[in-house]
């Protein structure tokens, strides 16, 4: 693996057993979009709060761009952009004044112009006072503020909350552009389709523990695939169970059409289908969602 933008070992902050984050070993490669997935309450936000220095880990180590978020907070935050999950815009700020404040604190005058360009791209009016912004526009302003200083790493907690699907796609392409420029994006989300569209790497957290972490391509290799087999007579599903020719089978009422989920190569399934005299076979693509549901079930077993 190349250089990492974020590296944690045994990172732990537990509110109660299984609540928060426990023993998280996160490796976010530099220059990638890392999808940090998990259901609500799984520990994504707690992990992010430790990454940006809001809370001190109870145990473990964390390095963000080679810095300790707790000890080197200001130096680290100068190089990263953050959008919190419940971040609110101050009442007395509109977008323009927030960008000017950011420019002064970061001592980077270019922040205002870049912020204006981003706001135009996201169709955000920077003159609206913070307390008058809708949820979606508040998210847009948070994104503009997080990206305007051209950070090396962007940490985004549920960034597309409240945004319409069209804008979600615009923002996803913005993320890809940033990654192409060599920036790293940690994108926390509970929406697999969103992450699947933009991420290079995926980490899955469940009940405070990181249960899977891998490049998206490798996950796809291990992903659940599905084959639909048709027969001219009824076939018992048990013929495909047990992992040899498939993992799980659904069948229609007559038993002449079976939908078989399987891992790895299609060869065992084809062999078994041939033995049973299948008249047609249709292969379906990689189903990451099913993979994650499988992970979920494995984790809870």
């Amino acid at each position: 693996m190349g250089p990492t933008a974020i590296s944690t070992r045994d990172l732990t902050y537990e509110f109660a057993p299984g609540v928060g984050a426990a023993g998280v070993d996160l490796d976010v490669p530099a220059g990638t979009v890392y999808g940090f997935l998990g259901p609500n309450g799984a520990g994504k936000s707690t992990t992010i709060r430790m990454l940006v220095g809001l809370v001190r880990p109870q145990r473990g180590t964390v390095e963000v761009l080679g810095l300790d978020p707790w000890r080197d907070g200001p130096a680290m935050r100068a190089r990263i952009g953050v959008l919190g999950s419940d971040q609110a815009a101050p009442r007395h700020h509109d977008g323009e004044s927030l960008l000017r404040l950011s420019a002064r604190l970061r001592e980077r005058p270019g922040v205002v112009d870049r912020g204006r360009a981003l706001a135009e791209r996201l169709r955000l009016d920077l003159s609206t006072p913070g307390h008058e912004l809708s949820l979606g526009n508040r998210q847009k302003l948070g994104l503009v503020a997080a990206l305007a200083h051209e950070p090396e790493l962007v940490v985004l907690d549920e960034p597309t909350n409240g945004l319409d699907p069209l804008l979600q796609r615009d923002i996803e392409s913005l993320f890809r552009e940033l990654a192409d420029e060599g920036r790293t994006i940690l994108l926390s989300s509970h929406s697999l389709p969103e992450v699947e569209r933009v991420a290079d790497h995926i980490g899955f957290i469940r009940e405070a523990r990181l249960v899977e972490q891998a490049p998206l391509a490798r996950l796809a290799e291990r992903a659940v695939r599905r084959g639909v087999l048709r027969f001219d007579r009824g076939v018992e599903p048990a013929a495909f169970g047990g992992g040899e020719g498939g993992d799980a089978v659904d069948r229609d009422d007559a038993g002449t059409e079976l939908s078989v989920a399987f891992h790895g190569t299609v060869a065992p399934l084809l062999r078994r289908a041939g033995d049973l005299g299948a008249v047609s076979i249709e292969a379906r693509g990689v189903d990451l969602e099913e993979t994650f549901f499988a992970l979920y079930r494995t984790g809870s077993a």
């Binding site: 709060r49 200001p74 130096a75 935050r77 919190g84 419940d86 101050p90 009442r91 404040l101 604190l105």
Partner: protein, 260 residues
């Protein structure tokens, strides 16, 4: 730190300009009444029970100087000014509770700079209110016919400023320790209101004077510099208590897990 403090002061400029003008108008208005009620005040003050006199810092308000002390430095104005400072000091916890602190925190600023900015906000607002009290005391004093010099007014107001700054710093410290605006308001008002009561009661009860000597309100001296010598030790104690509150505020905010 200065940038953050300036940002918060800018947000409050209308409210606090209005409050300062109100404090000034209140001082002038009270003092302007004096010439027309002077005679009634003489007989009234003679009949006033000791317990009530103690609540206005033992000021003799049948004289112009005593009236200035009782109206500007004894009760209403100090409580208003402390209220302004406490409300401002609780702002640190309020921004944490409403999540707007995130906007500041994600920028390259130290935690101590954030807490320090709120201390500056409190001090500046107390200074603006105190300046209004000085103008009110001088202008109103002319109308009332006092012979209090500007040096005396400034000394009494310096103590008033320190009392308000201390009240605000306590609110910032509780904000930093707890992140709760309710706790910040409650504790700071408890310190100011409680110490006012302690001072008043200890003036009346023999054997409780030691308790009064522990009270910030006693250190403040309720404007005694207007009429006579001021115990500078009181001002030193107010400043020392303020420093302690600042140290607690900054230290706690450096270490606490933030609820953002």
């Amino acid at each position: 730190m200065i940038v953050l403090a300036a940002d918060q002061l800018r947000a409050r400029r209308v409210t606090h300009t209005t409050t300062a003008l109100g404090l000034l108008a209140l001082a002038v208005m009270y003092l302007a009444f004096f010439p027309s009620i002077e005679d009634q005040l003489s007989s009234f003050s003679e009949d006033l029970p000791d317990s009530l006199t103690a609540f206005i810092g033992d000021a003799d308000f049948s004289t112009a100087n005593g009236y200035l002390r009782s109206q500007v430095y004894s009760l209403v104005s100090p409580l208003l000014l402390c209220g302004v400072a406490i409300a401002a000091g609780a702002g640190l916890a309020r921004t944490e509770r409403d999540q707007t602190l995130t906007t500041t925190f994600v920028m390259p600023v130290r935690r101590r700079e954030i807490a320090g900015a709120w201390i500056i906000v409190v001090c500046v607002l107390a200074a603006v209110g105190s300046a209004a009290e000085v103008v009110g005391a001088v202008v109103g004093g002319k109308i009332a016919g006092t012979d209090v010099g500007i040096d005396r007014v400034l000394l009494a107001t310096a103590a008033l400023h320190e009392l308000a700054a201390l009240a605000g710093a306590v609110a910032v410290a509780v904000s930093a320790v707890t992140g709760s605006p309710g706790a910040a308001l409650g504790v700071a008002w408890g310190v100011i209101g409680g110490s006012f009561l302690v001072t008043s009661v200890s003036n009346l009860v023999n054997g409780l004077s030691w308790l009064g000597s522990l009270s910030p309100w006693s250190w403040y001296g309720t404007g005694e510099a207007v009429e006579g010598p001021y115990d500078v030790l009181g001002l030193v104690l107010l400043i020392a208590a303020w420093v302690a509150a600042v140290v607690i505020a900054v230290g706690a905010f450096e270490r606490r897990d933030l609820q953002l």
